[in-house]
């Protein structure tokens, strides 16, 4: 098979890139392949990256100078989504149908899987756990829950689409691509629950960077995404080298 993707996949398996027992050292060694990787190794070895503080007292720092920053950015957003859906799935609005409850349970597990994947993948380079602020959400109200879910999913799509071109390593771009289409499937489902047929209402997503005349979905730069997401995140997020 002359498939780049498959070759990449087997390469990653051979390297046991994200195997916890191998850990960060080989993760960085893998990143060290290629010219850009040398800088990654150097950056990854520094102790002052801000990723070493699990309590996050000083907030979380996303350093966008390399792919670790982008992946941690994704990790932060997945933490936010997972926390939201865990709360919804544990006590859904009374008006949710059995099918809705089941699908929100599914989505909850998807987001947990994404969160835990990034945590495992980033290993010691991962930022700590974010503290969320859902005080603006009425979890007993279907409208509030669905509206928030739609906002999170559309924002997630915009975030991955906008951050993808920042990635320098093809395997990371592919991983982001594997996740963003699942977020888009969620977004379409939630949108259809709110108003059937709005699954890809790109005009309504113009403020998130979508372009209906080109048939293009949302895409936003990290600063804009974080500015929207900060309503729901208590932990201070510092952004550098954007």
């Amino acid at each position: 098979m002359k498939n780049n993707e498959l070759e990449t996949k087997s390469e990653l398996r051979e390297e046991s890139l994200f195997d916890k027992t191998v850990g960060r050292r080989s993760f960085l060694q893998y990143a060290g392949a290629g010219a850009a990787g040398i800088a990654l190794v150097a950056a990854g070895c520094k102790k002052d990256r801000g990723y070493e503080n699990p309590t996050m007292n000083g907030g979380a720092t996303l350093d966008f100078k390399d792919d670790f920053g982008v992946l941690n950015y994704a990790y932060a957003l997945e933490q936010l989504e997972a926390a939201f859906y865990v709360k919804v799935a544990s006590a859904p609005p009374a008006s949710f149908t059995a099918a809705q409850k089941a699908y929100f349970q599914d989505i909850q597990f998807h987001e947990i899987a994404h969160r835990e994947f990034f945590k495992a993948a980033l290993s010691t380079a991962a930022i700590g756990s974010l503290e969320v602020d859902f005080s603006s959400i009425d979890f007993t109200s279907s409208a509030s829950v669905l509206g928030t879910a739609m906002a999170f999913e559309d924002l997630g799509v915009a975030a991955y689409n906008g951050a993808g071109p920042r990635l320098k390593n093809a395997p990371y771009l592919l991983l982001a691509g594997k996740i963003v289409s699942v977020e888009a499937r969620h977004a379409a489902y939630v949108r259809d629950l709110i108003s059937n047929g709005t699954f890809a209402d790109l005009n309504s997503l113009a403020s998130l960077g979508a372009n209906n005349s080109g048939g293009l979905d949302a895409a936003l730069t990290p600063d804009k995404v974080l500015n929207i997401a900060k309503t729901y995140i208590k932990t201070k997020i510092n952004v550098i080298n954007l």
């Binding site: 498959l6 990449t8 599914d106 093809a170 594997k178 080109g214 730069t221």
Partner: protein, 295 residues
């Protein structure tokens, strides 16, 4: 039209984009002025021609041209598939072989929306490729009955939706499979924005299939009822889902990850959409193209 955003994104990978567009920047000014006058529908074409001018023939590398033409072929196929249906359901149409009826106006509206997006993608890619664009694919070049495998595609609504789901899920996989080849190219951003729109389409088509029958199709790609990769219930499209049942991502086993027992194999499969390599996508696409017109 977020052309300013697009240009900003390009500037990140190509700091000289504005200079390329015009050394004296006067053309940029005139372009924005023009943008106020021309219709929104014409914008993708205008944008495409601007990129073409900026990068010229040499600046769109052959590998990128190949990817865009590959994507263009798929978009032509998707467009014709939906367009034939919508034209056939239009009163007084010369297309008479679309004999099924939509169950309601919402379903026809959804197919129209998807058709319009596919057309926009075709126009955008043609514009971006300029003179490097492949020859257009006409409806007459296609065979959505796939030589009889889907003989009822335009006479049975469920068959139509089943094929639609195959197209959309294939489209998502195809773009994902090519993203790496666009790394560092200014067209990557655009390709990503098309990719997630196809995923939204796939989600909705799956919901339409569920609404139309008795079986349930999740909006996301799950595990088949017997544990197979193909969850569509249509064995003829096994190739569309080959490898979708991957549960190990970059060496990390997703099943039960982080001690979460709720993350079953099905959840692990659903959480990550898999790419499909070009050769496999071409094989699928060729099922719907006539001899002499295959990719």
């Amino acid at each position: 039209m977020n052309i300013v955003n697009i240009l900003e994104e390009i500037q990140k990978v190509d700091g000289e984009i504005y200079e390329r567009l015009n050394p004296r920047r006067a053309a940029m000014k005139s372009f924005f002025n023009m943008g106020k006058k021309i219709s929104l529908a014409a914008m993708p074409l205008a944008l495409g021609s601007m990129f073409q001018k900026a990068y010229g023939q040499t600046a769109l590398p052959a590998a990128v041209v190949d990817v865009l033409n590959f994507a263009l072929s798929l978009e032509y196929l998707e467009y014709h598939f939906y367009n034939h249906c919508i034209v056939g359901k239009t009163a007084g149409s010369s297309v008479t072989d679309v004999t099924f009826n939509f169950p309601n106006t919402a379903s026809q509206a959804a197919i129209t929306t998807i058709r319009d997006h596919e057309k926009a993608h075709v126009d955008l890619l043609v514009g971006a490729l300029g003179s490097s664009a492949r020859a257009p694919i006409a409806y007459a070049d296609t065979d959505f009955r796939a030589g009889g495998a889907f003989a009822s595609v335009y006479s049975d609504y469920n068959t139509f939706l089943a094929v639609a789901q195959g197209f959309e899920d294939t489209g998502v996989r195809a773009y994902k499979g090519q993203a790496g080849a666009l790394l560092g190219s200014p067209v990557l951003q655009t390709a990503l924005q098309i990719h997630s729109v196809e995923a939204r389409h796939a989600s909705h088509i799956r919901q339409m299939r569920t609404a139309a029958g008795t079986a349930v199709y999740k909006p996301w790609v799950s595990l088949g009822a017997s544990g197979q990769a193909n969850d569509s219930g249509v064995a003829a499209v096994d190739a569309v889902y080959a490898g979708e049942d991957l549960t190990v991502q970059a060496g990390a086993n997703i099943v039960g990850i982080g001690g979460n027992a709720g993350i079953t194999k099905a959840v692990a499969v659903e959480s990550f959409d898999e790419p499909l390599d070009k050769a496999s996508v071409v094989t699928i696409a060729n099922l719907f193209l006539r001899d002499g017109k295959k990719l």
